[in-house]
């Protein structure tokens, strides 16, 4: 027997055996059960566009919130500087040496 003929015999036998295998007799029930579930509906074009759009919108929202937070913090710093300026006059030595303040 030629070298490849043995494998060809094995191949034919394997094909014969595999053709005799029967699938699960209730496979049609499994198919129909899956089709009756809502999630069996495959993703259409809307979710394909919606997901990246939602991701982009979330990113923009986070950026906007960050900018708003930073802007409000600067305003608070401005009012604190006015208080410091007043403190300077109270701590200046000349304030205590002026005769009219005694």
């Amino acid at each position: 027997m030629k070298k490849h003929e043995r494998y060809e015999q094995v191949m034919n036998e394997m094909i014969r055996q595999e053709k005799e295998i029967s699938p699960d007799p209730w496979l049609h029930s499994r198919v129909m059960a899956r089709l009756s579930k809502p999630e069996s509906v495959p993703a259409g074009w809307l979710p394909v566009i919606l997901k990246p759009a939602l991701a982009a919108a979330s990113l923009l929202l986070v950026l906007w919130l960050g900018i708003q937070t930073g802007s409000s913090w600067k305003q608070e710093q401005g009012s604190a500087a006015v208080v410091l300026e007043n403190d300077y006059h109270a701590e200046h030595f000349s304030f205590y040496t002026q005769a009219e303040n005694e």
Partner: protein, 182 residues
């Protein structure tokens, strides 16, 4: 009942009628898929997926070919997608095993259990170019004539004959290489 009438009724909303088509074509689709994957459980999962996809694509069935031809095309695409995914997974597992991150024990056990010769035959079939593999499996597993294969694959009968001859030649060469020296 005529298949086209059943399909029209399904598209009109009678989903239950689809079970008639599923029952009729489960065996031939399963047999075709087995030719690609050679594992019963995987073939059942893919067969189920074929019918799910066919149902949702039923509105696009243009009736230029028979329903069975259209269904077999979906089955071939799904089977070959599965094979590509399996090859990628096997390559990834080999990489992990190389770095000691994963043990290939599962695959080694499977290899020990099955006959070496059957493994060689499956490898031989999987290494065929896609179109040769399709033609060969349709011929051997579905016992389709060259004319039927030509219709399914959008080829001439002469082209199918060429594909089958090249497939057989390629398989022979593969077996020659794998056969031990006398």
């Amino acid at each position: 009942m005529d298949e086209l009438i059943i399909i029209q009724e399904i598209l009109a909303g009678e989903q239950d009628k689809y079970a008639l088509l599923v029952k009729k074509y489960t065996d031939p689709v399963f047999r075709l898929v087995m030719g690609f994957v050679h594992q019963q459980q995987d073939a059942e999962d893919i067969t189920q997926e074929v019918f799910i996809r066919a149902y949702h694509a039923l509105g696009r069935f243009e009736q230029r070919a028979s329903f069975s031809t259209w269904l077999f095309r979906i089955a071939i695409n799904q089977s070959q997608t599965y094979i590509k995914r399996k090859k990628r997974r096997a390559a990834w597992e080999k990489t992990l095993a190389f770095f000691g991150a994963a043990s290939p024990a599962g695959s080694v056990t499977a290899m020990l259990d099955e006959k070496e010769e059957y493994r060689v035959v499956r490898e031989a079939l999987n290494q065929l170019p896609l179109r040769q593999q399709q033609a060969f499996i349709l011929s051997k597993y579905q016992e389709m004539s060259q004319r039927e294969i030509a219709g399914l694959m959008h080829l001439t009968e002469g082209a199918v004959e060429q594909l089958l001859m090249r497939a057989k030649s390629r398989l022979r060469d593969y077996f020659e290489k794998k056969s031990p020296e006398p």
